[in-house]
Structure formats: structure tokens, C-alpha cells
């Protein structure tokens, strides 16, 4: 019980600290690793459950951290308890009660919130019935639209994904202090704006779910479209997003778009290996060795997409943006070779996407699909219409697509100009060389 003073102060989940972890004996290292694993598994649920009890993420993190430090001290000797989550929650609740006794101010706050009775009524050793609800509350709070997108991503990875600040910083290739600051500010904003720690209902849920799904997808893309940095770290970020998407689909089994997002990410992740060449270059879809696509992820993607479709049909709903994007990814996944791709179906899906969720990028992708079906002239007409809006002037792929279509039409001079412009705009060195080669 007396371990509070030894915990790293106010830093949220403790990083494994050799000083606290050191315990004599040959089994100590194994025990330390067991504790580390338990932390990774229990942290999100612990903090989510404690936040419900104390009403504040920062306090919940401190309590969870204290409980984890206690585990680090006791488990190596006493062994891992049969229900690690229950043990940690009970320990954290004891700390909270200690704190209430010590800290009159904290007690008054808790009483104001009417939560003290909950502490006493709680049956700590019983399995927590509300773990799923607690985690969902945490996801919806962490992804609240008042927070900036980077803050939402950082907070979600930490609170729901169980990543440390160091891990998030490494994944985003930003200094650790930046991530720490984002998280601190986000928590402050949540407190200041009195964002309720709850899962919204009805129309509000649908609206807020968009933000939740978007955050997970942005995290995936951050790893997937890596333009620099150590590739393996970015692949880990893709995996984190995959896990978050699966978690969301499992927590919201009735939400078609949660399954659709999981499907989209599984399908895209199935290509991760085939997508990068040995020389660190990017291998585009038509050139990928399809035998390197991960069949299990593809199957899981299909299953999740089927679930989304079934739910949509049951509720007579139109497919959402992730269902349509996943359907496009599924068409690619089904094609045994690039030549055998059902571009007609893809063009149709892009037409639906463009109609229901219009955006210049969707329109550009539609132009590529249309060119595959109806020839480069039809595609160029659509791409030129996008170019005329001026919204994608700085987007290298607009110029790359135009260059490709122009060259297929034999308009070589115009094609060269477009490729040169694309090369100027890309941040990826490999891509630039490829584009410059085509401009010659």
C-alpha cells in the first residue's frame, strides 16, 4: 500500500522502470515481463473503469499507475493473480479510498459527483460487467471533436490502445514532449469543456461515431502511407490501428460502419508486405506480388464487410463511406491479377462514393477507374474537371494521374509538364524519381 511515493509522478502509465522492477532471483525477469504484459492488457480497461468512478482521466491514470507499481512490487514474489484485471482494479480502488480519507478536497469533489457510494457499493472482486461500456466511453471521449485530430489520435492510442508516450512519439516521428503535451492539453480541454464521459445515443451517436472511426483510420494511414522514417515502427502503427478497429467492431457489434472500417483496414493491411520493396521503395497495387498478400486478413476483411452489409440491409440503410471504400478494396483483393481486376465494379462503387460522399480525391480515384473501363479520354475528362476546381493543385497524385492519362493519349508534351509538376510536389524520394523518369 505504501508505494505511492515511488511511482513516477503524474506521468500516466509508468514506463517499465528498472529501479522499481529490480527484484532478486532467477524468476524476477520473467515476473517483470509478466507484469509488463499485464499492464499492456489491463491499462486501457483500468483507466477507463477508474475514469467512470472518479470522473477525471488524469486522476484515473494516477490511480491506475499506483496499482501497476504495486503489481510490479508484489507479483514477482506472490505470482500473477488469477484475475490480474480484478486485482489491479481492487488495488486502485483502495488507493482511491485512501486518497479520499487523506484529501478532503478530493473527497468533496467525489461527493459532489455522488460517486463515493459507488466506491462502497462496488463489488470489486466480481468480474467488471461494464468493461466494454467503460472502454467505449473512453473511445468516445478521446475522439471528441473539440480536440484537434492529432490530440484525438494521441489520446486514443494511449487510453484505448495502451501505448506509452514514448511509443506514440516513435510511431509519429515526433519528440516525446510533443506527444506528452498533446495528451496533457487534451485532458485539460476535456475537463475545461466538461465533456461528459459517456457514449452518446441515437443521432448523436451516429454523428460522433464518424469522429471515432476517422481517428482510427487516420492512425492507420499515418502508418500505411509512411513517407519517411523507420518502416517497422510505422508497420506497428498500422497494427495498433487494426487492433483499435477490431476492438471498435467488437464493442459496437450493431454498427455497420464499425465493421466496415475494420474490413477496410484488414484489407489494406493485407497488402503491407507486398507494398514495400526491398530497397525501401513503394510498390504500387498493379505491380504487387499478390502471393504476398495476407490471406487471413483478406478473409477477415471479407467477413467484416459481409457483416456490415447484412446490418445495413437489416436496417434498410445505404452503405456508408467505409463500407463503400472497403467494397472497393475487396474488389482488388478478389482479383487474381492486376489485369483481371473488375474495374467496371470499382468505377460503379466510386460513382456511389462520389455521389454520397463527394470529395475531389474520390473524384480523382473515380477518374482512374473510369479510364480503366472507358479509356484514357473519359478518365482525363473527369481528372480535368477536378483540376479545374483548383482544390487539388498541390496534390501530386492529381498531376501524376493527369500525366499518365495524357501520355496514354499520346499528348506527350502535356504529360511531361504534368509529371514534372507531380515530382515537384511529392515528399517521397522514390516516387519523385519515378515521376521524373516518366517526365523524360
Amino acid at each position: 500500500m505504501g508505494s505511492r511515493g515511488r511511482s513516477p509522478k503524474g506521468r500516466g502509465r509508468p514506463e517499465l522502470n528498472p529501479e522499481t522492477a529490480r527484484a532478486p532471483g532467477p524468476g524476477a525477469e520473467r515476473a517483470r515481463r509478466a507484469v509488463e504484459a499485464a499492464w499492456r492488457i489491463e491499462w486501457p480497461r483500468l483507466v477507463a473503469g477508474l475514469t467512470r468512478l472518479v470522473g477525471d482521466i488524469a486522476t484515473a491514470e494516477e490511480l491506475a499507475q499506483d496499482a501497476l507499481v504495486a503489481a510490479l512490487e508484489q507479483w514477482p514474489g506472490a505470482g500473477v493473480p488469477p484475475n490480474p484485471g480484478g486485482w489491479l482494479m481492487l488495488t486502485a480502488k483502495h488507493r482511491a479510498v485512501d486518497r479520499i480519507r487523506r484529501d478532503a478536497n478530493f473527497a468533496r469533489k467525489l461527493e459532489l459527483l455522488g460517486r463515493q457510494t459507488q466506491f462502497e457499493a462496488a463489488e470489486p472482486s466480481a468480474p467488471e460487467p461494464g468493461i466494454a461500456d467503460d472502454l467505449l466511453r473512453m473511445i468516445f471521449t478521446a475522439c471528441h471533436p473539440v480536440l484537434t485530430p492529432p490530440a484525438r489520435a494521441a489520446l486514443t492510442l494511449r487510453m484505448v490502445g495502451g501505448l506509452t508516450t514514448t511509443e506514440i512519439a516513435r510511431a509519429y516521428l515526433v519528440p516525446e514532449s510533443t506527444v506528452a503535451q498533446r495528451i496533457v492539453r487534451a485532458k485539460r480541454t476535456i475537463a475545461a469543456k466538461r465533456i461528459p464521459y459517456e457514449v452518446p445515443e441515437g443521432a448523436e451517436l451516429t454523428a460522433r461515431l464518424d469522429s471515432v472511426l476517422e481517428v482510427v483510420y487516420l492512425i492507420f494511414n499515418e502508418g500505411y502511407t509512411a513517407t519517411s522514417g523507420e518502416r517497422w515502427v510505422r508497420a506497428e502503427l498500422c497494427e495498433d490501428a487494426l487492433r483499435l478497429a477490431r476492438t471498435l467492431a467488437a464493442l459496437l457489434p450493431q454498427e455497420p460502419e464499425a465493421h466496415a472500417l475494420a474490413a477496410l483496414i484488414e484489407l489494406q493491411a493485407s497488402r503491407t508486405t507486398a507494398r514495400s520493396a526491398a530497397g525501401n521503395g513503394l510498390v504500387l497495387l498493379p505491380d504487387q506480388d499478390r502471393s504476398h498478400w495476407n490471406r487471413l486478413y483478406i478473409q477477415r476483411g471479407f467477413a467484416a464487410l459481409a457483416r456490415a452489409h447484412t446490418l445495413n440491409r437489416t436496417h434498410a440503410r445505404e452503405p456508408g463511406r467505409y463500407a463503400l471504400q472497403a467494397a472497393i478494396a475487396a474488389v482488388h483483393a478478389m482479383a487474381p491479377s492486376a489485369e483481371e481486376t473488375d474495374w467496371r465494379r470499382i468505377a460503379g462503387l466510386y460513382a456511389m462514393l462520389a455521389q454520397r460522399f463527394p470529395s475531389p480525391v474520390v473524384e480523382l480515384n473515380r477518374a482512374v477507374a473510369v479510364a480503366m473501363v472507358h479509356g484514357p479520354a473519359a478518365g482525363l475528362e473527369l481528372a480535368d474537371a477536378v483540376a479545374a476546381t483548383g482544390t487539388l493543385d498541390d496534390y501530386h497524385l492529381l498531376h501524376a494521374v493527369r500525366g499518365d492519362l495524357l501520355s496514354r493519349l499520346g499528348r506527350d508534351a502535356e504529360a511531361r509538364t504534368a509529371f514534372r509538376r507531380a515530382a515537384e510536389l511529392t515528399a517521397n524520394e522514390t516516387e519523385r524519381e519515378m515521376l521524373l523518369a516518366r517526365a523524360r
Binding site: 515481463r33 509478466a34 509488463e36 504484459a37 499485464a38 499492456r40 492488457i41 500473477v80 488469477p82 468480474p127 468493461i131 466494454a132 472502454l135 501505448l163 518502416r231 517497422w232 508497420a235 506497428e236 498500422c238 497494427e239 495498433d240 487494426l242 487492433r243 483499435l244 478497429a245 477490431r246 476492438t247 467488437a250 464493442l251 493491411a269 493485407s270 503491407t272 508486405t273 514495400s276 504476398h292 495476407n294 487471413l296 486478413y297 477477415r300
Partner: protein, 117 residues
């Protein structure tokens, strides 16, 4: 990273099949693993009709089970995706923990090689 958890047990122990309690506990655990986003695939493997085909010097020998070295029998598997090996080991250990003292079993946690996912 992905890990294949191979579950070895003596099929003779499960003559009456797993108890209701074990099945319920197992379901809870699998649900937990699903909600944590770590469970990719899991299944039990049948013991009946087991066949081994061995190839030595280009010649194949077909061996029909059941086999007597019961400890060699893989009764099931879990494919997990976690951030660390320790995490996969902890999930595997939880799988063992839900089994009562009457069970004598072992899991082997193997990292899936190759690729980035």
C-alpha cells in the same frame, strides 16, 4: 507481431469433453481477446482421423492415428496479434489459467515469421 499459440494436451483427459464451466470461462476469455483486438483466429483440432505423412528419401509413409505419444498432440491453436511477445505469452497463460487443476496441458507460443504483419 503475430504469435501462434499451440495447445498441447492429452486427449485422453477430455474423454467427457470440457465442463460447462470451462466452456463458459473460455467463451469469456475469447470475447475478451476479441474486444482487445488481439484474436485473429482460434480453433480446436480433432484427434480422430489424424494422419501423418512422412517423407524420407523421396518415399512417403502414411501413418494413421490415434498416436500414443499423447503429449505431442496439438489440441487447438490461437493466432494472436499483439504488440509484444510478453503480451502474447500473458494471453496464452490466461488460456491455461481458465482450466481447472484436473487439466494437464501445455501451450507453446511461436512467433509468426516473415513480413511486417
Amino acid at each position: 507481431m503475430r504469435h501462434m499459440v499451440l495447445i498441447r494436451l492429452d486427449p485422453g483427459q477430455a474423454a467427457d469433453g470440457p465442463s460447462e464451466t470451462l466452456l463458459a470461462d473460455m467463451n469469456t476469455l475469447l470475447e475478451e481477446m476479441t474486444k482487445a483486438g488481439v484474436l485473429l483466429d482460434t480453433a480446436g483440432l480433432g484427434v480422430e482421423d489424424t494422419v501423418r505423412i512422412r517423407q524420407t528419401g523421396g518415399a512417403q509413409t502414411v501413418l494413421d492415428g490415434p498416436f500414443t505419444e499423447s503429449k505431442e498432440i496439438i489440441g487447438g491453436y490461437c493466432l494472436l496479434q499483439t504488440r509484444s511477445t510478453e503480451e502474447a505469452v500473458e494471453w496464452a497463460s490466461r488460456f491455461l489459467r481458465v482450466h481447472g487443476p484436473e487439466w494437464d496441458l501445455e501451450v507453446e507460443v511461436r512467433k509468426v515469421e516473415g513480413g511486417q504483419n
